[in-house]
């Protein structure tokens, strides 16, 4: 029999239902991998008992002849941005050190309701700000992947959901939650050769998710394949009256409607995404992706998204602006870190607490955000960026007159080495160039692995769909998955 930890959500779910193995066996196997995977630094907190309790509940339900919940017996990893009741939640920042929520985020609660169990809390970029997981206050995550040059350079798993990417790719968990503000699910998924989808803004409740940029933040699944993403997204999504931006719509049965037959669908190739300096391998994979989709029955059309080049600058105004305000609550007054120097007054306490608690990237974004919102600069930056955002959304609206979905690379490079870009924030921000437009427009977007580059590292393809049309995105992802035949996986070195 294959190793249980090689299996994904669907295989585990079906295996438990059919009695091929017990949910407890699954939980124990993954608990062991988590315990043995410390070198990856993917998990911050391990919660084997949570995974076992959910597994036992699944086994008991099965023994009693009850119908099993959609993810019964499937243990997952939880990004540390999600508040989990009774389990430390820090957003990988010292400022939240010691914070244990008394409440459960809606998305994680939905997953537990669907029968999933939690293996632990996953490392990430601090407050989800980063593209390499190097901004975490608790050490960077290491990708399980190695270049085939024999150099054994530690690679970045991408970010901000780097712990999720590394853990799924390294088989520490069959799937994990991610959050995506400007590519934080898609880029790390691409870096480690797994699938990940950011649904339409409003599909997943933001209640109980530590906020980075409220108008952009969306939770989504990261898993081995498209089907697993469909199953898990179905469990995570749903209307939540506690989130005013939550969409009051039923959750479609995406898994049942999965189909790689794309006959009648038109796939747009945005010409503005042909950016100078993109490695040839990435453009070649993009062309190959278009070929695969044509093979699946789709018509390929060239489209134009004329305001693409303004997306990244607009994003790096809007996201920091919202963050500067969202992170004001970490003030040392009510929870988390408090630095109270002798004789300190309130202002001193704020300054000391925040200076000590936030990492450099978080501070950089708070300062950018504070600057762009300040009197005298607001119109030049924030108002202008909002106008750009409207134009980006309009670009997509106009594109939908010509196509049903868009194919693009997920990231402009394969995984880079840890430390290679850490000193150059702008180079780091450029990693989000293909991911950010869909975020600004609130559209569903997915990354699926397409192949390996010359160094043996995974490359991802991105599909962007119309608002609420996750199904087309998943279907196109499935079509690529079936044709790419991506079976590569990292050798275990940890």
């Amino acid at each position: 029999m294959t190793d249980i930890t090689d299996l994904g959500i669907k295989a585990i779910r079906d295996g438990v239902r059919e009695g091929t193995f017990s949910a407890r066996e699954v939980a124990e196997a993954f608990n062991a991998n988590v315990a043995g995977g410390k070198e990856l630094n993917a998990f911050l907190v391990e919660t084997p008992e949570h995974a076992l309790a959910a597994a036992d509940a699944a086994d008991k339900a099965r023994a009693a002849g009850e119908e099993l919940a959609p993810m019964a017996g499937v243990p997952i990893g939880m990004k540390d941005l999600f508040c989990t009741e009774g389990v430390a939640t820090t957003a990988c920042s010292h400022i939240l050190e010691g914070f244990v929520p008394t409440y459960e985020s809606t998305v994680s609660a939905n997953l537990w309701k669907a029968g999933a169990g939690m293996l632990g809390k996953l490392n990430m970029d601090q407050f989800a700000m980063g593209s390499s997981n190097e901004t975490s206050a608790f050490g960077n995550v290491i990708s399980p992947w190695r270049r085939n040059d024999g150099g054994n350079t530690d690679l970045a798993p991408g970010g901000s959901s780097g712990g999720s990417a590394s853990a799924v790719s390294g088989r520490l968990c069959p799937a994990a939650t991610g959050t995506d503000t400007g590519g934080s699910i898609r880029q790390p998924a691409a870096f480690v050769g797994i699938s990940g989808i950011k649904p339409t803004y409003g599909r997943c409740s933001r209640w109980g998710v530590v906020a980075f940029a409220s108008s952009l933040d969306q939770a989504g699944p990261m898993a081995h394949d498209v089907t697993d993403c469909a199953i898990m997204l179905q469990a995570m999504a749903g209307f939540d009256p506690k989130d005013a931006t939550s969409l009051d719509l039923p959750v479609p049965d995406w898994e049942s409607a999965l189909s790689s037959d794309l006959k009648g669908k038109r796939v747009g190739i945005p010409k503005e995404y042909r950016i100078d300096g993109t490695p040839a391998e990435i453009n070649e994979l993009w062309d190959k992706g278009a070929e695969w989709l044509r093979d699946a029955g789709a018509e390929i059309v060239e489209i134009s998204l004329p305001h693409t080049k303004y997306a990244l600058p607009a994003y790096y105004i809007i996201a920091p602006a919202e963050a500067s305000s969202n992170l004001a609550r970490y003030d040392g007054v009510r929870y988390g870190k408090r630095e109270l120097p002798d004789g300190a007054g309130l202002q001193d306490m704020y300054a000391a607490t925040r200076a000590e608690g936030f990492g450099p990237e978080v501070k950089r974004r708070i300062m950018i955000g504070t600057y762009v919102l300040s009197a005298g600069f607001y119109d030049a930056y924030y108002t202008q960026a909002q106008k750009v955002r409207t134009l980006i959304a309009r670009d997509f609206e106009q594109a939908w007159e010509q196509c049903d979905m868009i194919l693009a690379p997920t990231a402009p490079s394969a995984a880079f080495g840890l430390g290679e870009k850490a000193d150059d924030p702008l180079a780091m921000y450029l990693n989000d160039v293909f991911a950010v437009p869909a975020s600004l427009a609130g559209l569903p977007a997915m990354s699926v692995p397409g192949g390996l580059d010359g160094q043996g590292l995974p490359l991802g393809l991105q599909i962007v769909g119309k608002a609420l049309d996750e199904q087309s995105v998943l279907n196109a992802g499935l079509a690529i998955e079936q044709r790419a035949g991506f079976t590569a996986r990292p050798d275990k070195w940890w």
Binding site: F82, W207, A244, D331, L346
Partner: protein, 500 residues
């Protein structure tokens, strides 16, 4: 509309005062603006705080529809423009009583636009001048918590019970020109809010407070630089702040100084205002649309429902009391100034009309006089308030019916009412058992009159010779003979008949 003649006499001549008010009114609702926590006043510190109010990580605001409804109703009551599209903005600043690090407010797109309040300078004087005071806007916002500095020798404590409570900020135009106008504006606004039921108007408990903007100028000149005195919590204080601040500004200007645009604080103990912070060190609040909240979009149906739910408002009621019920302008004005007074009057009016089998219009004046002067006089003497448990509409109506039917005199009515308030006994039973009834038995009265005229034949002569004043003497003698229980009206009638 005549111009105000209120002036401050300075060394260089007369100065005119220009006043604008920003009134913060706590919206009446059971739950806070963006969380389900209770809004009850006076609870133990930090017992009415939800995860949202404490700004725990990942918590999100969800607008309370009732607060939105109340703001719209208030706007409609002020004849103001209701904005079908409005939006919440964050006002960012750090303070320990502000857990989120920002207040959710409405800067760019408030829910209510221009309106107007008609203010009589003296509500009880029907001839007093009336001013139209413009309302610039009403927006909805969150209240902050409260710091407590007296709990610990070196630390301050925070009470978040008020954190997130819904406020309406009602911003006037700089249309007021005297402390009296400003006071009348606040009172009228409070009256309307209470009628609408959107704010209890309780200034002592802080559910209504005003930021007072004052500037001075020579009449006819441009507006001067204004100062803003924050959180003034009574009508009297509002008026005092204006006087103090206007005089201070005149002194500064006449000494060759300049007024600094600044925020000031009022100290009622020393009756002075003090600078809090000037424009130079004012906060940069970095307002921007709250990304956690969608714009508020109101439907025509919602607005129509809000409108339909409005009660008759004080101005309309006052006019109706005069035109339909035939009340004097004074009575109509006093009865309608407060929603509670009008409500009590209308209840007693219905009860009285029913009891006497008459139309409202026939008993309105009787009920108005009783409600405004006779009943309050007795209550005051007994040191009880109108909400005393024995002060039921039924008891009052019973007394009024006896007066109206002639079996009880005005004086007896007061005595009966006094016993009712003290004991809760039945008014008619009191009149019977306590002998508090007057006789309208013409035979008995006439018999006494005959006797009195006989024994005072000389005075009858004098009266007939033109000494009219003696009529009162005969009335007095008759009443005395009847032991005070004769119906004075009948005594008068019979005496006139005999003497004239």
């Amino acid at each position: 509309m005549t111009e105000s003649t209120y002036r401050i006499q300075g060394a260089t001549g007369d100065w005119e005062v220009v006043i604008g008010l920003e009134v913060h009114a706590q919206i009446t609702s059971n739950a806070k603006l963006f969380s389900g926590a209770s809004t009850e006043f006076g609870a133990e510190p930090n017992t009415q705080v939800s995860l949202v109010d404490a700004a725990m990580p990942g918590m999100l605001p969800v607008p309370n529809q009732e607060c939105v409804r109340q703001a719209v109703r208030t706007g409609l009551a002020l004849n103001a423009e209701i904005h079908k599209y409005s939006r919440f903005d964050r006002k960012n600043y750090f303070y320990a009583d502000l857990p989120q690090g920002y207040q959710i407010s409405q800067l760019y797109h408030p829910i209510v636009g221009e309106g107007v309040i008609e203010v009589a300078l003296d509500e009880k004087d029907p001839d007093s001048e009336v001013r139209q005071i413009g309302v610039e806007r009403i927006h909805i916002e969150q209240d902050a918590g409260k710091l407590m500095h007296d709990q610990h020798p070196t630390m301050s404590y925070v009470d978040l019970n008020r954190s997130g409570v819904a406020l309406m900020e009602i911003v006037s135009r700089p249309d007021m020109r005297s402390p009296v106008e400003a006071g009348a504006y606040v009172k009228k606004l409070r009256s309307i809010l209470r009628y609408v039921g959107s704010c209890d108007g309780n200034m002592e408990q802080g559910s209504m407070r005003a930021d007072v903007n004052v500037s001075v100028r020579k009449p006819g000149e441009e507006f001067g630089t204004r100062t803003e005195t924050k959180n003034v919590n009574s009508v009297r204080f509002v008026q005092q702040v204006i006087e103090i601040e206007a005089n201070r500004q005149v002194d500064v200007l006449e000494a060759g100084g300049e007024i600094v645009q600044e925020t000031r604080l009022y100290d009622p103990d020393r009756n002075e205002t003090r600078s809090m912070r000037s424009k130079e060190d004012a906060h940069d609040y970095r307002y921007f649309p709250d990304p956690d909240l969608l714009p508020l979009e109101l439907t025509d149906d919602f607005i129509a429902d809000c409108k339909a739910s409005l009660p008759e408002l004080p101005d309309a009621k006052r006019k109706r009391y005069e035109s339909e019920l035939g009340l004097t302008a004074y009575n109509a004005a006093v009865l309608t100034a407060e929603a509670e007074t009008a409500r009590a009057f209308e209840v007693l009016l219905k009860e009285t009309a029913a009891k006497q089998g008459k139309a409202d219009t026939e008993v309105a004046t009787q009920v108005a006089n009783w409600s405004l002067s006779i009943a309050p006089g007795v209550q005051k003497a007994l040191e009880v308030t109108a909400d005393h448990e024995n002060n039921t509409p039924a008891a009052n109506a019973a007394i009024l019916a006896m007066v109206s039917g002639g079996s009880v005199s005005g004086g007896q009515a007061k005595e009966i009412y006094e016993i009712v308030l003290k004991t809760g006994r039945d008014a008619e039973e009191i009149a019977d058992t306590e002998g508090l009834k007057q006789t309208s038995d013409t035979g008995a009265i006439e018999a006494e009159i005959e006797k009195i005229l006989e024994t005072n034949a000389d005075k009858v002569e004098q009266y007939k010779a033109g000494k009219d004043k003696l009529f009162g003497f005969f009335v007095g003698q008759t009443m005395k003979a009847m032991k005070g229980k004769a119906n004075p009206q009948i005594v008068n009638e019979l005496l006139r008949k005999k003497l004239d």
